[in-house]
Amino acid sequence: MSTPTEAAAPTAPKPTRIPPIVTLDAKFFWDGADQEQFLGQKCSDCGLFTFPPRPMCPQCFSVNRREVPLSGRGTVHGWTIPRHPPPFGFKESPIVAVIELEEGIRMVSNVVGCGYDEIRQDMPVEVTFEATMNNHKVPVFRPRT
């Protein structure tokens, strides 16, 4: 490659976060995240939200499911700071949390933009996205006022 002649825009450091393992039943979730869309799975017949995603509704056994935008708002249901071993792909220990979403489902994610001394159980958060290796994105959460 030739040497750039113009001053290149400063490039963001390459993401080091591990990308998700994508299964067929959860592909819509991760594909959405790549586009910065936060999608949930809702039964087309009875309206039940499910997480983790699954191919059948456990309430009415329907296989008709819709991928619907989630509000992205939730609360920190529980949290921890992994110290040892240092989690692979993170320069500093992330805050790992179980997020309870407004739709009544929970998922594991990170709370970003929040100091170690600021994290509180049940604090309100909202979704944002962070890049992973191999050009993917994952939903994470930041404090919401």
């Binding site: 393992i21 692979f88 594991v108 159980q121 994952v138």
Partner: protein, 391 residues
């Protein structure tokens, strides 16, 4: 012959040494502990006709049967859920014997979980892939967020419980100190002769801040453990006093999964252990106060509290006071994990604590309960449990 639901018994137990580097294959460990269990029972390994292990055990039934000269294997099965289902091996063996399908069921678990591989290393370097049969979605739903180890999943599972009841990390230290005191007196324990103080616990490094320190976590170990299950009737004619399996069960309530267990209704309880307790007490007609000892799966210390509460040894939130008050000690209300548990003795996926329950009923533990006669022992691995009894 009429068969009752209480007719299976443990006739033999066996193990290898517990180490950090066994220096031999997992298959060899499996074969060695299997022979030890057969020898303990006075049964020829050739006569094993049933085999049970974990889905994630790396040794193959045929290869192990070839080592043991098993003449005619009639039934094999594996239990999902890793250590959480450890006691389900006893459940399966009981069912196989009670159904009249097998005479000599070998349960084994053998692993080089320290020298050959370690749970929770960078999954990409380990080239691990998501597989069914492990009962956990941790690789799918936790790893991109830096929750890559069993300790991280376990801490996240315990956080809301600890927060609700004000359980501090120091409170957990009483469990570690008690178990290490047991281990210090157990020549089989990796930490034989190495007790700890509460201050040692508090000075150990954070693994998961602010929940788990190093001394709240089970070891990583190499070794093998085996149990030989037969009918009570046959066991009476064998070498050891039989240890009856009066009840055993498994419980996987809706939306519960192994360790990355965040999707069920109330994260301040362990519904799987509550389910096991409910069935086990109903099945046996026994109650918590009928137990003289317990072997409780202690991958991480908070899960001891959650199980003590689920089984009704104390009320919700009172586990911390129970252990602080010496409830787990030899003269306490429920001597628990008297081998040193998975933190003090070794981590053979819960199996090593289950055979300590057998020793307590036989009266052969190096930390023998003497204040009372050990008539009943509870064995719990969270998603499965058993009550063992003096026959």
């Amino acid at each position: 012959m009429t068969r009752k639901f209480t007719e299976a018994a443990i006739a033999g137990i066996g193990q290898t040494e517990f180490s950090k580097a066994s220096g031999r294959s997992e298959l060899q460990l499996a074969a060695e502990c299997a022979v030890a269990a057969c020898k303990d029972a006075g049964v020829s390994p050739h006569d094993i006709d049933g085999m049970v292990t974990f889905t994630i055990d790396n040794s193959d039934e045929v290869n192990l049967a070839r080592c043991l000269g098993v003449k005619d294997l009639a039934y094999t099965t594996r239990i999902p859920g890793g250590g959480a289902a450890a006691a389900a091996t006893i459940y399966q063996a009981m069912a196989m014997v009670n159904a009249g399908l097998c005479h000599n069921v070998l349960i084994w678990r053998a692993m080089n979980e320290r020298s050959q591989y370690r749970f929770g290393q960078n999954p990409q370097q380990q080239q691990m892939s998501y597989q069914s049969g492990n009962g956990t979605g941790s690789l799918l739903w936790c790893v991109p967020y830096g929750a890559m180890t069993p300790a991280s999943w376990g801490a996240l599972q315990a956080a809301r419980y600890m927060h609700k009841y004000g359980v501090t990390n120091r409170d957990l230290g009483y469990i570690s100190v008690q178990q290490r005191a047991y281990a210090a007196n157990n020549p089989n324990a990796w930490f034989y002769g190495k007790p700890i103080t509460l201050e040692d616990h508090q000075n150990s490094k954070w693994i998961q801040e602010p929940w788990l320190r190093l001394l709240d976590c089970c070891q990583e170990s190499d070794g093998g453990v085996a149990i030989l299950v037969t009918s009570l009737e046959r066991a009476r004619d064998l070498k050891q006093p039989p240890v009856q399996i009066v009840g055993a069960t498994q419980s996987i309530p809706y939306n519960v999964e192994v360790i990355s267990n965040y999707y069920h209704e109330d994260l301040t309880v362990m519904p799987e252990a509550q389910g096991v307790a409910k069935r086990l007490w109903a099945m046996t007609g026994l109650k918590p106060s009928d137990m003289q000892m317990a072997a409780i799966y202690d991958a991480f210390t908070p899960h001891v509290l959650l199980q003590l509460e689920a089984f009704g040894f104390c009320k919700p939130g009172e586990g911390k006071d129970f252990v602080k008050g010496g409830g787990m000690a030899l003269d306490g209300a429920l001597p628990t994990n008297t081998n040193g548990g998975l933190t003090g003795e070794a981590y053979i996926h819960g199996m090593n604590s289950m055979i300590e329950g057998v020793r307590q009923i036989r009266g052969t533990s190096c930390n023998q309960v003497t204040k009372k006669t050990v008539e009943h022992v509870l064995v719990s691995s969270g998603m499965a449990g058993a009550v063992l009894a003096k026959a």
